[in-house]
């Protein structure tokens, strides 16, 4: 038998007590054992945290640990072909030369992007019906005269290139004869020194004739003939490019396999692969742009992987965006069209730019300036520019 008081004293003194062979007989017992000081055992982090809960949190210094990380650079077995537009004066050309493509990697942090994307200004051989007011305001004074129009693009808006669309050659519009288009082409070539994209009206029978006639008067100027596609006599367009030293826009509808097929046909017909630019079709923002994103991305990746039938630079008819109702329609609920229209074209252009496109056909001078500037940034050398803005300034602004 043992007195409980004595047992407690013992616990207080020693911190522990071991009782062997104990027998307790009682109806009800209540044992109050005062807390013994804790045993010293090595503490795990879990217990530390447990203690913090009961005590006021004592600030523990949390360090940011050093970790390993490497910039994720991928290897590419292929490359994108470099296509030259225009001919330098030294070779008897008119002056300006533009090169597109030539990439050996997807991103500038993987490898230098040799050429900045290019924007070419759309102009038309007759006043374009249905051109929205906030584009017309820039060109109203020159729309009757494509030569003046081209000059304005170059002088006022610093155009790198100009695309002449010979829309009046359409038999359903004015049926302008091919030789007249060629005459206009000559005047255009004399008026400005930038390279040209030469476009028809979209009429499959007439276009090859118009392109051929224009190619002839522009011999050696390395224009881009727009376009060769599976609906027309693409061989005739290729022949014009071969004979008169130009490039060909190979246009298909959002299907990478179709693009490959057409390129193959053009090459087997004798056209140099380095004279081809692909247009896999740009659907406007809100009207299927996601299909274009997929088509462009797949073509670019296949090219960089080494598929020599699709490793050409790509072109986008970004102007399509202006046809979207959200761009041109006057609707107070949608806000001011002055900003909405160019933004629709900009968003379409930027999306195509970030999907791999190298050359853009566009209309609104503001859209052009933003897309061009963005293209320059994307192809600049990493860290070429000091950035001093405070990332957190917006919180206190």
């Amino acid at each position: 038998m043992m007195d409980f008081k004595e047992l407690i004293k013992l616990v207080e003194k020693t911190g522990r007590v071991k009782i062997d062979d104990i027998k307790i007989t009682a109806d009800e017992i209540a044992i109050n054992i005062p807390t013994a000081p804790p045993l010293k055992i090595p503490q795990t982090p879990a217990m530390k945290r447990g203690l913090m809960r009961s005590k006021p949190p004592e600030e523990l210094k949390i360090e940011i640990p050093e970790v390993d990380w490497e910039v994720p650079i991928n290897k590419y077995n292929g490359y994108i072909r470099e296509v030259q537009l225009g001919r330098p004066k030294s070779e008897g050309g008119r002056g300006k030369v533009i090169k597109i493509g030539g990439q050996r990697a997807l991103y500038r942090f993987e490898d230098v992007q040799p050429n900045a994307p290019v924007v070419t200004f759309d102009i038309f051989d007759m006043p374009m019906p249905g051109l929205p007011k906030n584009i017309r305001q820039y060109f109203e004074d020159v729309m009757e005269d494509p030569v003046e129009w081209a000059k304005k693009c170059v002088k006022e808006f610093n155009a790198d290139m100009v695309t002449i669309h010979h829309i009046s050659t359409d038999p359903k519009i004015k049926d302008t004869p091919a030789r007249e288009s060629a005459k206009l082409m000559e005047d255009l070539l004399q008026a400005v020194d930038v390279p040209f994209v030469i476009g028809g009206s979209g009429d499959p029978k007439k276009d090859p004739l118009v392109l051929e006639a224009c190619a002839q008067v522009a011999e050696g100027e390395r224009c881009l003939l727009a376009s060769a596609n599976l609906d027309l006599d693409y061989k005739k367009v290729a022949d014009a490019a071969i004979k008169y030293d130009h490039n060909v826009l190979s246009w298909t509808i959002m299907d990478p396999n179709m693009a490959k097929d057409l390129n193959k046909r053009l090459i087997s017909h004798g056209l140099d692969g380095n004279r081809i630019v692909m247009d896999p079709t740009t659907c406007s923002l809100g009207y299927g742009i996601e299909f274009s994103i997929n088509a462009m991305t797949r073509l670019r990746l296949a090219g960089l992987k080494g598929d020599e039938m699709v490793n050409m630079p790509m072109s986008s008819g970004t102007t399509n965006a202006i046809g979207a109702r959200e761009a041109w329609m006057v609707n107070p609920e949608w806000g001011d069209r002055t900003y909405r229209l160019p933004l629709w074209e900009i968003t379409t252009g930027l999306t195509m730019l970030l999907s791999g496109v190298d050359i853009f056909m566009m209309l609104h001078p503001l859209s052009i300036s933003i897309v061009k500037e963005f293209g320059k940034l994307l192809t600049s050398k990493p860290k070429y520019m000091e950035t001093n803005t405070d990332n957190y300034q917006w919180i206190r602004a």
Binding site: M52, R53, P57, E59, L60, I62, I64, P65, V67, W69, P72, Y107, R108, F109, G202, I253, M254, T281, C283, L285, G286, Y287, G288, I289, E290, N294, T297, R298, L301, R325, E326, M329, W334, G335, D336, R337, Y339, R340, P342, L343, W344, I346, T347, L350, T351, L354, S355, I370, L377, L378, K383, M385, T387, T389, N391, Q393, W394, I395, R396, A397
Partner: protein, 488 residues
């Protein structure tokens, strides 16, 4: 990292083909799991203790390389991340980028309330889908914890929007956390406040406070270290902010790509978190007088809105999971919301409606026949406009393989042969007493071919479906009677 195969998943399933998940076999269920069309919980057998090991392995195997993080209310939340692939064509992107609008706690109460309600109510409807904003980024412009807390109260009293608490001041975040009712996203733990912020958050977490935390650094390696330290402290709902540099946005975009590629292609778990972008930095930069488009737009706030949208849209093309904007004009938000809708459309789902004949209103034998495509975007735009304008007609939806009118005309799907088949299959000739088809303005080049192949008279209508109502009111009776005079 190689994508997991259905076979890898199948190996871990019970292989009993019990059909309790609703699928015909375990292999079918495995395929659904692989495509994220089902969840592990739907298999009741896996819940048995003997499958515990397999269930855990499966959850691990199926957890996306980019962690899914949410904030807001359980029934109204913003979900970020959860992504599996680098390119949408490979599978799909899952959680659309959450779009937040900032509110300054320096504003008067009424203004805070109004701006918050604006964010909650903003909607832009496209093709049958309501495009909306996702959260409010409340910023501690005052620097005062008390004002910050009050602003939280105003917002949560008047709206049910998820809130991002934005302040580098730990006391402000702490005060706000004590009052906020939803799970907030916190901006931000930085290199400077890291230890202090985490200590505070650890104690809140121990008191059962839930939150998602944004880690912010210009250096990806540092960000990765911050993730490691946070995980060690049990803070796991993380978002990464590698800085948005308005002067050179390509630096920022590069970092986004590096982070996402590290997570998805290199299997770096510590970088497998959603990414935050700050187009608002571009806005403020331009507003401070750095206007690169002053040749075209002189008003600084308009130029700022344009440039902010340009940054936002570029980021949408480069993996951003959440963005904070300042501009709220419809012309700025529309392209951003539309691009987000496009990028996050599931490419595995056909973008088409069933080709055929759709009566709109209550058409009779004198009603016009109008022919559009079976591209769902086009189709829903057209039917939406017709409904709004009370147009009554027989609407034909041609199988253009899901292409829009202009693309289908160019691609040769919107053509005479397809039109002929459509007319025959739908039997529309028995529904009307005329042979006239109204074509969309953009289909004008296909008119000759369609007339030749079908023998019907084609009338080229308006460029946009919103103008069809007026066009018909002005012209249909005349077109119909002229046709009848010529053909009787």
């Amino acid at each position: 990292m190689a994508k997991i195969s259905a076979m890898d998943i199948y190996k871990l399933l019970p292989k009993t083909n019990c059909k309790k998940c609703g699928e015909s076999s375990c292999m079918a269920f495995a395929t659904k799991l692989q495509n994220k069309k089902a969840t592990v919980e739907e298999c009741p057998i896996l819940k048995a203790p003997k499958f515990e090991e397999n269930r855990k392995k499966l959850v691990e195997l199926l957890s996306p390389p980019v962690k899914e993080v949410w904030f807001g209310y359980p029934d109204k939340k913003a979900i970020l991340g959860g992504e599996e692939v680098m390119y949408r064509y490979e599978l799909t992107f899952f959680n659309p980028t959450a779009i937040g609008i900032d509110i300054s706690d320096n504003l008067p109460e009424e203004d805070i309330k109004n701006r918050a309600k604006f964010v909650e109510d903003f909607v832009f409807e496209r093709t049958g889908e309501k495009l909306k904003l996702d959260f409010i980024a409340l910023r501690n412009a005052s620097g005062d914890p008390e004002k910050f807390k009050k602003a939280v109260d105003i917002i949560q009293k008047n709206t049910k929007m998820p809130i991002a608490l934005c302040s580098l001041n730990v006391e402000s975040i702490e005060r706000a956390l004590d009052t906020i009712k939803s799970k907030p996203m916190i901006y931000a733990a930085t290199e400077d406040n890291f230890s202090k912020m985490l200590n505070m958050l650890i104690s809140k977490k121990n008191n059962k406070r839930e939150f998602a935390l944004i880690l912010s650094s210009n250096n990806i390696k540092t960000l990765k270290g911050m993730v490691k330290a946070s995980l060690e402290q049990g803070i796991e709902d993380l978002i990464l902010d590698p800085y948005t540099k308005p002067e050179n946005i390509s630096d920022t975009l590069d970092k986004f790509v590096m982070i996402r590629r590290s997570a998805i292609e290199k299997g770096d778990k510590l970088l497998g978190y959603p990414i935050l972008g700050l187009p608002i930095n571009t806005y403020m930069y331009v507003l401070n007088g750095n206007n690169p488009i002053k040749q075209f737009i002189e008003e600084l706030d308009k130029a700022a809105g344009m440039m902010e949208a340009r940054t936002a849209n570029a980021m949408l093309n480069r993996y951003v999971d959440a963005i904070i904007l300042h501009g709220t004009e419809a012309w700025e938000l529309m392209p951003i919301l539309t691009l987000r809708q496009a990028i996050y459309t599931d490419p595995r789902k056909p973008q088409t409606v069933e080709p055929g004949l759709y009566p709109i209103g209550n058409p009779d034998e004198n009603s016009p026949v109008i022919m559009t495509t079976n591209f769902s975007l086009t189709f829903y735009t057209v039917t939406g406009d017709f409904e709004k304008d009370g147009v009554t007609c027989w609407l034909l939806s041609m199988d253009t393989e899901g292409k829009a009118v202009d693309v289908a005309v160019a691609g040769g799907q919107y053509c005479g042969d397809n039109a002929k088949n459509l007319l025959e299959e739908t039997g529309v000739r028995d529904k009307v007493n005329h042979r006239i088809i109204i074509l969309p303005g953009l289909a004008a080049p296909a008119r000759g071919d369609i007339e030749e192949k079908t023998g019907w008279t084609c009338v080229v209508g308006t460029r946009d479906s919103s103008q069809v109502g007026e066009f018909l009111r002005k012209n249909w009776d005349r077109i119909l009677s002229e046709w009848k005079n010529n053909n009787n």
